[in-house]
Chain length 208, copies 2
Amino acid sequence: MGQPPQEVSPLSLNRLSLYLRCLRQLQDQGVTRISSQELARQFHLSAALIRKDLAQFGEFGIRGIGYQVEPLIETINVVLGLDREHRIAVVGMGRLGSALASYLGFNEGAFRIVAAFDSDRRKVGKKVGHLEIHHIEELTEVVRETQAEIALLTSPARVAQGIYEELTAAGIRAVLNFAPTQLAVEPDVPTKSVDVRIHLEELAFFLR
Amino acid sequence: MGQPPQEVSPLSLNRLSLYLRCLRQLQDQGVTRISSQELARQFHLSAALIRKDLAQFGEFGIRGIGYQVEPLIETINVVLGLDREHRIAVVGMGRLGSALASYLGFNEGAFRIVAAFDSDRRKVGKKVGHLEIHHIEELTEVVRETQAEIALLTSPARVAQGIYEELTAAGIRAVLNFAPTQLAVEPDVPTKSVDVRIHLEELAFFLR
């Protein structure tokens, strides 16, 4: 990953995302206050770990009363950098890329999908969700116009490295890679991989 | 996760999956032997870590000669439990579930998608890839008939826990969860989650 996390370890970073999701569910249900014990019970988490993780950001919990849901959501949003919009480009309009580009779940809060690309000219100009598909050659121009910051890379493995390099050259600042290949990553471009096959192989190991 | 890994840590388990993918690529290219240095260079890995990880399974590397690609693939396959077929059921025929069910990349080697389910009767009987979509009520019967072992769970968050419990009751032995929710997992059913939003939030943190 790029710059080292300030104050927050990668593991507690992931847990913050989880807490945020749980707190949002509670907010939707009209809950305004919750104890760490109750939060832990409802979402199958550890109360001690919740208290430890959240204590890093000041005193949110009041002993015997618990956390105020809304202020805590706002603080975690600031800590995670979710207090502003991040624009996303999806590259590769195969089944997975199309599914990601049309998944409205990303178009709320801090994330918005703003562009879709493919290298197949037959797909260019067609719609996926509310977006028009652009040719990959238009990358630099469309990234500049849409101010896309994050790319979801769903291209075939054999072309993924080349496209990754085009993305970073075009100004994309972070990449979530779905191509089943090991990328040589730019040190200053945070890059993570989602690899379903590797998860399956891990499960297979536990079924031996 | 279920039973504790024998001899292999979760991290080196993931790295074994990566090595396996790299070795398969080399095999496809006709390479029969490779040094740890060359393997590291080609796939952006650490040569020292490769040697350490692979030394756990006996002496594969010959000093000055390197690893024999094919025997090493076979050994890693046995270590990971990939020397037999694992049958997969996909639950939820939304965009993501349909994309996963039709992704032929899973239908090679140790994994085979054998069943697809949805709770929407309008989808039942239709085809996704080569599979017929079954109603979720037929779960127990179809899991028994197809001998599906692993489920890919892509249902909406609000119903995921209930379906998870139906899956384990029906005999599914491991679950890869794509529903954006925190599941209460069965201790003896290895369960992993793939959560794109949490990855995005992690990237957003590094873009602060």
